[in-house]
Each structure stands twice: as structure tokens, then as C-alpha cells.
Symmetry: D2
Subunit: 152 residues, 4 copies
Amino acid sequence: MTTAPSFTPRDPDYAARIRAGFDAQPLMDFIGAALTAVAPGRCVIELPFRPELAQQNGFFHGGIVGTLADNAGGFAGYTLMAADAGVLTVEYKLNLMAPAQGERLIAEGQVLRAGRSLVVSRAEVYVLGPAGKTHCATMQQTLMTMHGKGVA
Amino acid sequence: MTTAPSFTPRDPDYAARIRAGFDAQPLMDFIGAALTAVAPGRCVIELPFRPELAQQNGFFHGGIVGTLADNAGGFAGYTLMAADAGVLTVEYKLNLMAPAQGERLIAEGQVLRAGRSLVVSRAEVYVLGPAGKTHCATMQQTLMTMHGKGVA
Amino acid sequence: MTTAPSFTPRDPDYAARIRAGFDAQPLMDFIGAALTAVAPGRCVIELPFRPELAQQNGFFHGGIVGTLADNAGGFAGYTLMAADAGVLTVEYKLNLMAPAQGERLIAEGQVLRAGRSLVVSRAEVYVLGPAGKTHCATMQQTLMTMHGKGVA
Amino acid sequence: MTTAPSFTPRDPDYAARIRAGFDAQPLMDFIGAALTAVAPGRCVIELPFRPELAQQNGFFHGGIVGTLADNAGGFAGYTLMAADAGVLTVEYKLNLMAPAQGERLIAEGQVLRAGRSLVVSRAEVYVLGPAGKTHCATMQQTLMTMHGKGVA
């Protein structure tokens, strides 16, 4: 297991930029997700359970788990980009390791390596449920920096 | 590029079972998705655009693309399982190849190989937009058969 | 299942460039692999079995299956790049679907989408054995074009 | 970044079993790899550079990086299995993050979650080169326990 690398953000106002980016995504509001922590190369997104977000057994749907993981990893990478850059998910790979049964989902995104164009990040997803905090999914992701393509 | 393999389903009532399984997922109703085709080893899910499903540019959010792909591949695998089996997504890997900009998303799931316990499937996601039909994402997935664990 | 898209190569001498690129990799000679087909967006690599390439049961080792798949997909992408470009594997995901037991491994790489910088490709790996031709592995891959960084 | 979970092996003789399993793979000897550490849920494999293992620039070939990562993750999972079980790689996903340029490759495999049948593991690959120790690749992997199918 590696220790999280430490990063110095190019944009001193990265936290405000991340919050604005998160608020600009209607889907996050629609499902009820909240950005709960931002740091250089790191981002945490949380989501309380609602019956509409469930699969057939009343657990969080795997697509919702993937959505949160993708966004946590993506915004983690975005913290390290220049103020005028945009971010694009190139691909991600998600392992669903345990049922996402519980009242709250927590996705922690963390950058592993930030190159000039490509960024590799991870997200760990936990569910808070009757059995405490369960590590229910893990994601590995590639992001692309869109130089000069950020939202004005 | 391989041709789609042809499969004989164990359960002659697989199509009704898939439709019931789809209807049992509240998330599909919440986002407005519909099951539009089912065949042995194959499943198609479609989703009209709604502003709530968007990312910051007004395109379908990547998490929604992933949700549809995961479900199309998962139900494709489920068509080949026994009547009393359940299906579990072990993992999937999604490449987002073009912006999902358009009025309708179409995810086509297809089984590649069906083993006793593990099933490998794929999904191709297309978006119908101003430029016609664009192949916007591709997914590779592993499913697990839960023998005897299907919904009664 | 998608049909293979058709591509027009930027470099009319792509086939010679691919053969030179293949010959420049000492590992291919070391394991005994041969480039057996090249077309725009497509590349086939074959490898006769040798006991040194085996895992504990005498089948082709999964690492060798991955090596062939990675290279077939990578060279498939390289066919579509400019004469002065280099190619880099960003990432790949490989499903091992059946034991690679047999006398010859065949990896067929195919480009799915070729963007300005990023290329998405696939490889299907087959093994020729006592049971005929078995589809033993499938791979999904992201490549990066290194503009102006090709071998002189 | 998660801390490595701690595991109690089912088989007290797991270390000897891992060493025997490693020695039973002719490919490891052919490329010159050595098993340098084994612990419950963990395994380290190292490989000195040899020109035969290179790609076109004289760096370790990506296929060799993947081979080492796959094996380190696979044997990490195998440490936690019963004495009479076999292990199978279902799939893995590898990000190549930096050129593998150097005199030695080190792949550290670590189990993330060990279920009854499926095990999720990771491997981090480092290269020792002129610039010191570089984290050159990261892998996420799914393994399958073959109950009662171990080598006699």
C-alpha cells in the first residue's frame, strides 16, 4: 500500500474552483451529493441514502457508487490543474467489493501521479451501515488535463 | 473485432425475468431509463436526456453513462443464468471516448464468455445528438453468478 | 458487438513503420513472437508455445498473454499515427477468460476510436490447442500519441 | 489512500506454499525474477534489468511490468487461501505512469479485500534507476479462489 503523495497546487484558489465545479453539475444536486473535503490531490464526496438511488435489494445502486467514485477521483485531479484548465475522465475501473448497504456513501478521491497532461487517481468508497464503515468499492482512473479549456 | 457469440439460455422465461429485474431497480425509474431490447446474452437500455442528468456542459454525466453501461452488461449476463440465480457486478472498466452530448443515450450490453460462475461482458454506449449517432463509451465487465440467490 | 471501424492512415508507409517498431523491441525476439498482419487500425501478433513461457500447469503464463495483447493493441493504434509520432500505453485492462493451453497464441489488436492524442483499442487473444481455437483473453486499452517523438 | 488491511492466513505454511508456487512457474526463471518478500496478503517480486526484456528505448517492456504486477498481486492473494486451493487471475487493470527505465523492477502486491471466492488486490511497481526509486505502474486486480484445486 502506498502512502498518499503530497502535492503543491498550481492554482492557490483551487478549493473555490473545485466547489464551483461541483456546484455546476446538476446530477450532484439531483442525487443529493455533497462535497465534504478538498485538499491538494484529494477530494471527498458524500451521499445520504434515498430509496430512489437503490438497486433491487434496497442498497445503493452500483451506478451511483461508480458516479461518486468517478467524481471524487476527477475532482481530486482537478485540484492540481491550472486555473484555466478543464478536466476530462479518460477511463476508470471500479471493483465492487461489498454490498453498498447503509445510510451514507463516502467516496474519497486521491491523485497517485500528476503528469503534464495525464493524471492517475484512485477512489475508495465506503458505506456507513448497520455493520459500521465498510470499504465497498475501489476505483483506478485516468484523467486528461484540457489545457486552457476550463470554465471561464 | 469479434462477432457476438450466440447463446442458448438456461431459463426459457429469461426475458420476463430480465424485465422484472429491471423494474425492481428504483434508480432506473428515477433517471427515466427504459429496457428496449432483450435477447440471449444481450440487453439494450435507453435514456432520454433530462437536465438533471447533466455535468457542467449540459451533456450526460459520465456517472450516468457508466450506470447505463454497467446495467446493460449486467442484464445481458443475467439473461444466461438459471431462473433461481442472482447476478452481481464484480467490476467494470469504462472508457469515455466522446462527449455524451445529445438527446438520448443507448447502452448495448453483450456477453463475451459465460462460464459456470463468472461471465465477461461488454457494453457499447451511443449518444443520439446533432451529429447523429456517436459511439461515446465502451465498457468491459466481469459478473458473478449467485447460484440459488435470485429474487423469489 | 460493434463492427470494426475503418480508418485511413496518415502515414502511407505505416506498415513498414510498424514492422520496424516491432523489430526494435528485444522482448519480442526473446519470447519468439512474430508480427503476422498489419492493416490500418489493426495488428496481429503470434507466438508459438515454448516451455519457458509457461505458468505452473504448462499453459502460456498470463503475463505473456498480457504482453501480446498490450503490443497488438498498441501497434494497432500506432498504424494510425503520423510518421514522426511515438506511441505510449497509458493503461490496459485484461480479462483472462479461459486457460491459454495450446501450441500457439494469437493476439488481434483493433482500434475502436482514434482521437487527436488518445486512442482506444482492443485486443482479442486466442489460443490454438487440442480443442481448436479458444478465445482466451480480451483487453481494452488507452494509448497516447507522442507527437513528434517517434524514432528517427 | 487506505492503510493495508491486516490478514490472518488460513494456511500456517502459506510462505512455503507461495515459494513453491513461484518456483513452479518457468517464466519467472526465464526472465530472472525473484520472490523477495511474502507476508499475509502481501508479496514482493523483483527483477534485474536484462537487455532481452526491453522495449525500443531500452526500458523494461510494459508487458514485463504487467507480468510482474499480475504475479505480485496474484501471489499476495494466494497467501490467504487454503492449503488445497488454487488461484486464478480473473482480470487486471494496469496504469503505466512513468517509463520503467532502470536497473531493477520491484512489484509489491497487496490484498485489499479477501472474500470467500473472489479476492481484490493491488500492485505497485517501482523501478530503481538513475533518478532513484520511481513509482512506474499501478495495478488493480480480481482473483478467483479455486477451492480444492491446488497443486498436490
